[in-house]
Every structure is written in structure tokens, then in C-alpha cells.
């Protein structure tokens, strides 16, 4: 039997150490470009989180979900309601985050149950509708009873805090100054590593293989005795719970939530991350999420200087150019790497066979 520590050669140990050091140092490196970069890195990790969650549904089980942001919204609102002056509740994070996962899980099943029979594009439009339904309810549940405070959103949300150690403001730990965003980075890092571990374990478990069977051929999967209904619901629930946790962190980090953060385009972006990176392949999905979060922000910094260098003046409006380049990048990557930037070896093989 092969276990992970059998594969530890000096080279991989060196590589792992290097990665660990790099991950630990990243917020300080990014801070050289300003704390804004730390924030961007944090959002990148948050999206890695989301993309991995969606990857379970889309990549592993092959169910096209265009309403994934709904779970993120559920998690964010749950945090906002349980840790803000809105209801006067201030529960600690170790209560809310698991609760967020559970509630999102429940919503996942709620979405999954009526859509079990649907496939492909029909499923896509129904999940899309579900995402919109959740957003619209959040936008409107300020009357007759004020639950979500409607479009005004919820302000003054508590940050993550352990005792008096708040994650929102900077402090000095062991003589090193750590800013608020940098603290969140480490929190997110721990969480995302856990999520990656869960994902890897899942993929190679019985469940993961059952999902793969459903993805490849549902009828055959049923025939060999897989309970496709339960497996599909499980995929929705697992994916949703990750979204719920990510949403909670988002609310705490921002200190403010309002329904406009959870629009359809966000679902589409997360799906784009999964597909662009390489569906079903965990490293690929991570890459996709990082690229799509960092790219538009990097373009924000790059568009004006590049134009100035090339033409000596700012010809095109940086903002429209930024999104234009982003759209083109999506098209071009898919054009030349249809299975994503970093597809799993199986996928690559399948594609090669098809091309023949």
C-alpha cells in the first residue's frame, strides 16, 4: 500500500519546505506592493475556497451549477445576522462557521432535491434560478418582518476574533507587525489547506469514485449499484457547505454585507474559475481561481502604465480595457486549452483520444 510518506524523497521534502516558506512569507511579500495586495491575495484564497466547493458539484459529479453563489450568500448572511448589532447577537466564530456550513448544506439539499431528474442545461438554468431566488429574498426580507435589512445590507459585522485578538486590526506578534488583512490571510490559509485536504481525500474515496461514475455515465452508475440520488445530494450538500464557510469569512472580513455582492455574475465567475483551471483537477481549479481573481486587479495596476509606455498617452479608458482583456483571456485560454489550463491527466488523455 502506498501512503503519502513513502513518496517523501529529499527532493519533495525540499519542494514542500519551499512551498511552506513561500506561503508563510506571501502576505509580507505582497505587502511590499501595499496592503491592497494582501487583500487581493485574501480574496484569491476565498475564491479558491469557493471554486473548490463548486468543483465538487461540477468537476467531480458533473452537475452544472450556475447558482453556487447562493450558498456563499447564505453563509455570509448567517454570519452577519449572528454577529452584528442587527439582532444584537455576537456569537463567536467557532459557533457560526460550523453553523454556516450546516445551514448551507441544508440549502444545498433544498436545491438538489427537486433537480435530481434534470440534466445538463436544464439543470444549469434551474440552479441559476435558485441563485437568483435566494438573492431576491435577501433583498426583500426587510418587510413585513425585518430579517435581512433588505437592500441596505447589514453593517458593523464583527470580525473574526479569538478573545481580544481581533483579526480586523493590526497588532504585534513576537515582535513582528501583522496587519488585519495579513491575519486573515493566515486564517484563510489554514482553512483552505483543510479544504484542499478534504477534497483530495474525497476524490480518491468511494464517494469520489461514485461521483466520477455518475459524471461519466449516470445510467451505468445506477446499474452497478450506486445510489445516484444520495450521491448527487451529497455532492450538492458538500459543495454548499464550503460555500457557506467562505461566505462567513467574507462577511467578517468586509464588515458589511448586502445582496448586491451575490449577483449572478459571481456564480458565473466561479464556474469560469473551475472550468478555466481544469474541471475536476484540484491543482487546476486552484490555479484558475487565483488567476481570475488576480488578473483583473493586476490589470487595474497595469493598464495605464503599459499604455503610457507604448503610446505615450492613455488612449483607452483603463476600466473598460481591463474587462475587455479579461474577456479575451477567457476566450483564448479555452480556445487553445479546451480542457483548462491544468487538466487532470485522465481528462487530457480522453481529449487526445477524441481528437484522433
Amino acid at each position: 500500500m502506498r501512503t503519502w510518506f513513502n513518496t517523501l524523497t529529499p527532493r519533495t521534502i525540499f519542494g514542500l519546505t519551499l512551498i511552506t516558506v513561500a506561503l508563510l512569507a506571501l502576505p509580507f511579500v505582497a505587502a511590499l506592493g501595499g496592503q491592497a495586495w494582501v487583500r487581493i491575495v485574501n480574496f484569491a484564497i476565498l475564491y479558491v475556497f469557493l471554486a473548490l466547493g463548486l468543483n465538487i458539484v461540477v468537476g467531480f459529479a458533473g452537475l452544472l451549477d450556475l447558482g453556487y453563489i447562493a450558498f456563499y450568500a447564505v453563509g455570509a448572511y448567517l454570519w452577519a445576522l449572528l454577529a452584528s448589532p442587527h439582532f444584537g447577537l455576537h456569537l463567536p466564530f467557532w459557533v457560526i462557521l460550523p453553523l454556516g456550513a450546516i445551514v448551507a448544506c441544508f440549502f444545498g439539499i433544498l436545491l438538489g432535491a427537486p433537480t435530481l431528474k434534470l440534466r445538463g442545461d436544464y439543470l444549469a438554468i434551474v440552479t441559476l434560478g435558485f441563485g437568483e431566488i435566494v438573492r431576491i429574498f435577501m433583498n426583500n426580507l426587510n418587510a413585513p418582518i425585518n430579517i435581512t435589512n433588505g437592500p441596505q445590507g447589514i453593517t458593523l459585522i464583527d470580525p473574526v476574533a479569538i478573545g481580544n485578538f481581533k483579526f480586523s486590526t493590526g497588532s504585534t506578534v513576537f515582535g513582528i507587525d501583522i496587519s488585519g488583512p495579513q491575519k486573515y490571510y493566515y486564517l484563510l490559509l489554514v482553512l483552505v489547506l483543510a479544504v484542499i485536504a478534504i477534497n483530495v481525500r474525497l476524490q480518491h474515496s468511494r464517494i469520489g469514485r461514485a461521483w466520477q461514475a455518475i459524471r461519466e455515465d449516470e445510467i451505468a452508475a445506477k446499474a452497478i449499484g450506486i445510489n445516484t440520488r444520495n450521491m448527487k445530494l451529497l455532492a450538492f450538500a458538500m459543495g454548499a457547505s464550503f460555500g457557506g464557510v467562505a461566505g462567513g469569512i467574507f462577511a467578517a472580513m468586509q464588515g458589511f454585507v448586502s445582496p448586491e455582492s451575490f449577483s449572478l455574475i459571481e456564480s458565473v465567475m466561479i464556474l469560469a474559475m473551475v472550468v478555466l483551471g481544469g474541471m475536476g483537477h484540484i491543482p487546476g481549479v486552484i490555479l484558475g481561481a487565483i488567476l481570475l481573481t488576480v488578473l483583473p486587479e493586476a490589470l487595474r495596476y497595469a493598464v495605464v502604465p503599459v499604455q503610457k509606455a507604448l503610446f505615450g498617452a492613455v488612449l483607452a479608458d483603463p476600466e473598460s480595457l481591463r474587462m475587455l482583456i479579461f474577456g479575451l483571456a477567457l476566450v483564448l485560454v479555452m480556445r487553445f486549452k479546451p480542457a483548462g489550463l491544468w487538466p487532470s491527466p485522465d481528462r487530457r488523455r480522453e481529449l487526445a483520444e477524441k481528437a484522433r
Binding site: T115, D121, I125, R335, P338, A339
Partner: protein, 307 residues
């Protein structure tokens, strides 16, 4: 009663617009099983091109009918080229790729087109020059205009024309053959690439036409107008059974009616709890219910195991 009639008219016209856009989605989907997510953007470009051409010609002193006609022709031509190149650039190279890949390129193209339109036409809302003098009619206390009648007529005619095309012409036969099995159709001498290109071109012309109708009706245009419209139309297409022309039409009209009647009556029925702020939800709820019982939409054929 007059109010109910009015709501039906409102829904019918809105539905006719959805239907026209939905026909474009369904045309492409029926043949190659692909959601052309950028179709809403084609509609938007159609409207904006018409505005530019018509405003220019009117300023140059052309009579309204000529300016309007040339505007429509210009919009149709631009959209034809656009649809054709969309297929060539974004979709054709991806045939045989994983199913979601073309969806992402479509989203990418949609972003590109929106931002291009913003750079060309600016960020402001634009007014559509009034091509048709609006005249009011009244039936049973419900008001409607000639423009509304025109829209319903154009939508009906478009569907009729498409049905004729698909079931009565050689091209249509080739289309149906390609839809069934591109490989075998190829063996029978059908040039699948040509057929698919023509489906895109026809879909885009319909999009342009829909764009003009939207412009004439609402007299307003904006570079982001295509997104929501496309989404609603796509919902309509799925509701009717995507890939089915009559289904798209029925789905569109049904969606329009659900929205109008939902906004008009559900609020009072639920004591104000589910008012018109849930207008966008009604359509989705109906959609989910329909799909629970008929997983391929109202008129869709059982697709078997194509997912």
C-alpha cells in the same frame, strides 16, 4: 376586467420580445446543443447599431421610413457578421471539447462584446429615435399602441418564417439532419460547418430584429441591456423545451404573462408579502415546477442520455 386585459396585453408584448430572442437561442441549441450565452449581446449590438444609423440618416435629412429601413438592414448585417464570426472564433474550434468549455468562451465573448460596446457607444443610456408615430387604441378599457401590435406580429411572423425554413427548405432539412447526427449528415453530403454557420447567422438576424423591436418599444438602449434580456429569453427557451421553435415562442409568451400577471395579482393574493419585488422569482418558480414534472420543458423531446 379592464385591468386584467391590460395585464394580459402587457405580458403578451413582453413575452413576444422574449420569444424573439429565445428563437435565436433555440435555433443554435437545436442544431449543436450549445447555449450561445452571447446572444443577448448580439441583440444589444443590433439595437445600438440601429440607433447610430438611424440618427445619422435622420440628421442627413432622409425620410423616416427610409432611415428606419436602412437602420434595420444595417443592424441585421452587422449582427450577421457578428454571429458568423462568433461561431468561427469562439465555438467552432471547440467542437469535441468538454461540454462546459464553449460555455466559458461564450461568457468571455459576452464580456468582450459588452465592453467593446461601452467603448464605442459610451456609458450613458441612449434614446432610440422614434421611428413609428405611436397611436393609442383601446379595447374594453385596456390601452395598447400600434407598436405593441407590430411587435407581436413580427414575433409571430419570425416564428412562422423559421418553421417554414426548417421544415420546407433544403437548408432546413440539412439543419434537421445535422441536429440528429452531424456525422451521418456529413456522409449524406451535408456540409455541417455551413449548416451551423447559417444557424448562427439566422439566429443573429433574429437577434437584430428583436433588438430593433426592443428599441422601438422602450425607446432606450444601453450597453448592458443584453444581459438580462438574454437571461430571460434563455429561461423562456428552456421553459418551452430548448431546441424546439414553437416551444421557444410558447415559453416566451408564457414567461411574459407570468411576469405581468404575477406582478399584478400575487401581491394582493398573498396580502402584500409576495409583491412585485418577487417578479423575477415567479418565472423561475414556474420553471422549476415545470421541469420537475417535464424534465425537458413543455414541448421538448426526451433527449435521452445526451447530458
Amino acid at each position: 376586467m379592464d385591468i386584467f386585459l391590460q395585464q394580459v396585453i402587457n405580458g403578451l408584448v413582453q413575452g413576444a420580445i422574449y420569444a424573439m430572442v429565445a428563437l435565436g437561442y433555440t435555433m443554435v441549441y437545436g442544431i449543436m446543443g450549445l447555449i450561445n450565452f452571447a446572444h443577448g449581446e448580439v441583440v444589444m449590438i443590433g439595437t445600438l447599431v440601429t440607433i447610430t444609423v438611424v440618427t445619422f440618416l435622420l440628421k442627413a435629412g432622409f425620410p423616416v421610413w427610409l432611415a428606419g429601413g436602412m437602420g434595420i438592414v444595417a443592424a441585421a448585417s452587422v449582427c450577421m457578421v457578428l454571429g458568423w464570426s462568433l461561431e468561427r472564433v469562439a465555438y467552432r474550434p471547440l467542437r469535441g471539447a468538454p461540454r462546459l468549455t464553449p460555455l466559458i468562451t461564450a461568457i468571455g465573448m459576452s464580456i468582450v462584446l459588452q465592453n467593446l460596446a461601452m467603448m464605442i457607444w459610451g456609458r450613458n443610456y441612449m434614446t432610440f429615435p422614434s421611428l413609428i408615430e405611436k397611436t393609442q387604441f383601446e379595447i374594453g378599457g385596456a390601452a395598447f399602441t400600434n407598436v405593441q401590435v407590430l411587435i407581436v406580429l413580427v414575433a409571430g411572423l419570425s416564428m412562422g418564417g423559421l418553421l417554414l425554413l426548417v421544415y420546407r427548405t433544403k437548408l432546413g432539412m440539412a439543419m434537421r439532419a445535422t441536429a440528429q447526427n452531424p456525422g451521418v449528415a456529413g456522409l449524406m453530403g451535408v456540409n455541417a460547418n455551413r449548416v451551423i454557420s447559417s444557424a448562427f447567422v439566422i439566429g443573429s438576424v433574429l437577434g437584430a430584429l428583436a433588438g430593433v423591436m426592443v428599441g422601438v418599444y422602450y425607446e432606450i438602449a444601453h450597453y448592458q441591456m443584453g444581459f438580462m434580456l438574454g437571461l430571460k429569453a434563455f429561461t423562456a427557451a428552456v421553459l418551452g423545451g430548448i431546441g424546439n421553435l414553437a416551444g421557444a415562442m410558447a415559453g416566451g409568451i408564457l414567461l411574459g404573462l407570468i411576469e405581468a400577471l404575477g406582478a399584478g395579482y400575487i401581491g394582493d393574493l398573498t396580502g402584500g408579502f409576495l409583491g412585485s419585488h418577487y417578479q423575477d422569482i415567479f418565472a423561475f418558480v414556474v420553471l422549476i415546477f415545470v421541469l420537475m414534472f417535464r424534465p425537458s420543458g413543455l414541448f421538448g423531446e426526451k433527449t435521452g442520455d445526451r447530458a
